[in-house]
């Protein structure tokens, strides 16, 4: 009886264990199957690089959305990478232990805050702020803009980059720092020449992970970025990133022919791009580990 249970348990667990991999495959093919309808009519390249988005006329050019995604992500990275890395260095190399123990949970907390809440904050604080500062640069902006999206997104990816970077730094042996310090190097010199250099692969991985997180982030960006289907010309213009496109059109999705197919293609593209970056980041991390030995 006991052995029977053991066997049954084992079988059930085995079947369940295959599921995650299966889910991944299913996800890919599910989205692919749906997007075939539109790919049968138009070329993949044509869809990616044409900029007309008129669902009712059957035009589904994804180009403005790709550009929108790039803009917002780029702005987010420009803001988030230096700030996150500086904070990570501060926590790992400078901060007293008490402060480190205090700050780490706060970072976890930040990463646990739901996307919509960032969106609310963005709408209430960042959007008016951007609207206010745009005239200083000689431009008008409603505030709902690439810059607002980028700022909100930057705050959302702080925890990702900081977390990975901290792990990378803590893997660097302490005596290595001592070696540099004992030559009379200052802490910053030690950090720059030893810690950052030794951790370079890991730092790249941290940034790439932040990037892929930013690429897929939906709700917060959707709420502040303005959603105009044209490629933005400056950071004060509205943009329309890919995830926002998918999320924003759930209503009409079944009423317009090919619409669902086009959106699923967008989801598929997002899936592939994000995964490419994730795998790239993993590759860098593995290299970083090998280097540490």
């Amino acid at each position: 009886m006991r052995l029977l249970k053991e066997k049954a348990g084992r079988t059930v667990m085995f079947i369940l264990t295959v599921l995650p991999t299966l889910l991944l495959v299913l996800m890919f093919f599910g989205l692919f199957r749906k997007s075939r309808a539109i790919l049968a009519l138009k070329s993949f390249g044509g869809l990616l690089f044409s900029s007309g988005w008129h669902p009712l006329r059957g035009e589904f050019g994804l180009f403005p959305f790709l550009i929108g995604t790039l803009w917002v992500t780029a702005v987010a990275l420009v803001i988030a990478v230096p700030i996150s890395l500086l904070m990570a260095v501060y926590l790992s190399e400078y901060a007293p232990r008490g402060f480190r123990d205090f700050a780490k949970p706060l970072i976890d907390l930040l990463s646990g805050i739901p996307s919509v809440i960032f969106g609310v904050w963005g709408v209430l604080v960042i959007v008016p702020l951007v609207g206010r500062i745009a005239p200083l640069f000689g431009r008008y902006s409603s505030g709902y803009s690439v810059l607002a999206g980028g700022i909100v997104l930057a705050v959302m990816i702080f925890p990702t980059i900081i977390h990975v970077a901290l792990e990378v730094f803590s893997a660097i042996p302490f005596p290595l720092r001592e070696a540099s310090l004992s030559l009379g190097a200052t802490r910053w010199e030690t950090t720059r020449h030893v810690v950052l250099r030794k951790g370079s692969q890991g730092i790249i991985a941290a940034c790439v992970l932040g990037l892929s997180r930013a690429l897929g982030e939906t709700m917060a960006v959707l709420m502040v970025v303005g959603n105009v289907p044209a490629a933005p010309k400056s950071v004060f213009d509205a943009g329309y990133p890919l995830p926002a496109l998918i999320a924003n059109n759930y209503g009409e999705i079944l009423s317009v022919p090919l619409y669902d197919s086009a959106l699923m293609l967008a989801a598929l593209v997002l899936f592939i791009v994000v995964q490419t970056f994730n795998i790239l980041a993993r590759w860098f991390l593995v290299r970083a580990e090998r280097r540490a030995e």
């Binding site: 052995l3 995650p20 919509v116």
Partner: protein, 283 residues
């Protein structure tokens, strides 16, 4: 000599400023949401459903979203537990350290973990259409559960990995089967870690909007069966924040405050749990 000191000071100041920015943002967000939301919170807000449509109606509360979110997140977390726990146990107890299956599965979890929630939403939608379902609580639960599985599994896997081999061997040597060892020794040993993993997944599930947008729909009513659509807090915020009516926006602010407080509470609880119960755990 002085220049080097200056450089050192300069960078240190920059680092402290960055740290202040990050922590400041966190506080800023929480304070903004609570400050906007608290005045909107009232008894009627949390005990009534919206009147006259969530987008236009100026009266009523957000009970629909509160209950909808709880149903959805509880259901999804329960389902995710049923799917994750056995897998993680299988990986750690039955698989050999370097088995292909274990590596593939862990890799899949990592990949799934990195998929944006909007893609889960789209996939949930594909599934829904395939099975001929409409937007419903059930579809939402399934989609959110799929989203939670990798989060939960990875967290629990980290904990179960740390179970000392000697402990398992002690149980085997008493004649226990692997299943008995898993259920009676490993789960008990890792309980705090497992609970923490479940809480983290629950927090992620209840806060996610993009995945339920396609699948759970939105409604003014409180769902009474799995087949009906359900409102959720994140979507209550998203839809109602965009209206021109201040009264309706109040509902969005109230929802945001409740969601934020809930998430903060869960984070703190997870932290306390993982700290408190480690006392009884054999190291």
């Amino acid at each position: 000599m002085n220049k080097r000191r200056l450089v050192e000071r300069f960078w240190k100041a920059l680092m402290i400023a960055s740290t202040a920015v990050v922590i400041g943002c966190l506080l800023f967000i929480v304070v903004t949401v609570i400050w906007k939301g608290l005045p909107a919170l009232s008894l009627s807000m949390i005990t009534r459903i919206p009147k006259g449509g969530y987008y236009l109606g100026k009266e009523g509360g957000i009970l629909n979203a509160i209950l909808g979110s709880l149903y959805l997140a509880l259901g999804a977390t329960a389902l995710a537990c049923v799917l994750s726990l056995p897998v993680v146990i299988f990986l750690n107890v039955y698989c050999r350290k370097r088995s292909r299956l274990a590596e593939l599965t862990r890799f899949s979890f990592d990949v799934l973990w990195g998929i944006p929630s909007i893609v889960y939403g789209a996939f949930g939608f594909v599934l829904m259409v395939y099975f001929g379902m409409r937007t419903s609580l059930l579809a939402g639960i399934v989609t959110v559960a799929l989203l939670e599985v990798p989060i939960m599994s990875r967290a629990i896997d980290e904990v179960i990995k740390l179970v000392p081999r000697e402990l398992k061997e002690a149980s085997y040597s008493l004649g226990a089967t692997r299943l008995e060892t898993s259920l009676k020794v490993i789960i008990r040993q890792c309980l705090p870690g497992i609970l923490t993993g479940i809480l983290i997944a629950f927090g992620r599930g209840i806060g996610d909007a993009a995945s339920v947008l396609f699948t759970a729909g939105f409604t003014d009513r409180i769902p009474t069966s799995l087949g009906q659509p359900a409102a959720t807090l994140p979507l209550a915020i998203f839809f109602q924040l965009g209206t021109p009516f201040p009264e309706v926006r109040q509902r969005a602010y109230a929802s945001a405050a409740i969601l934020t407080i809930l998430i903060l509470f869960i984070s703190v609880l997870a932290r306390v749990l993982s700290r408190r119960y480690t006392k009884h755990v054999i190291r």
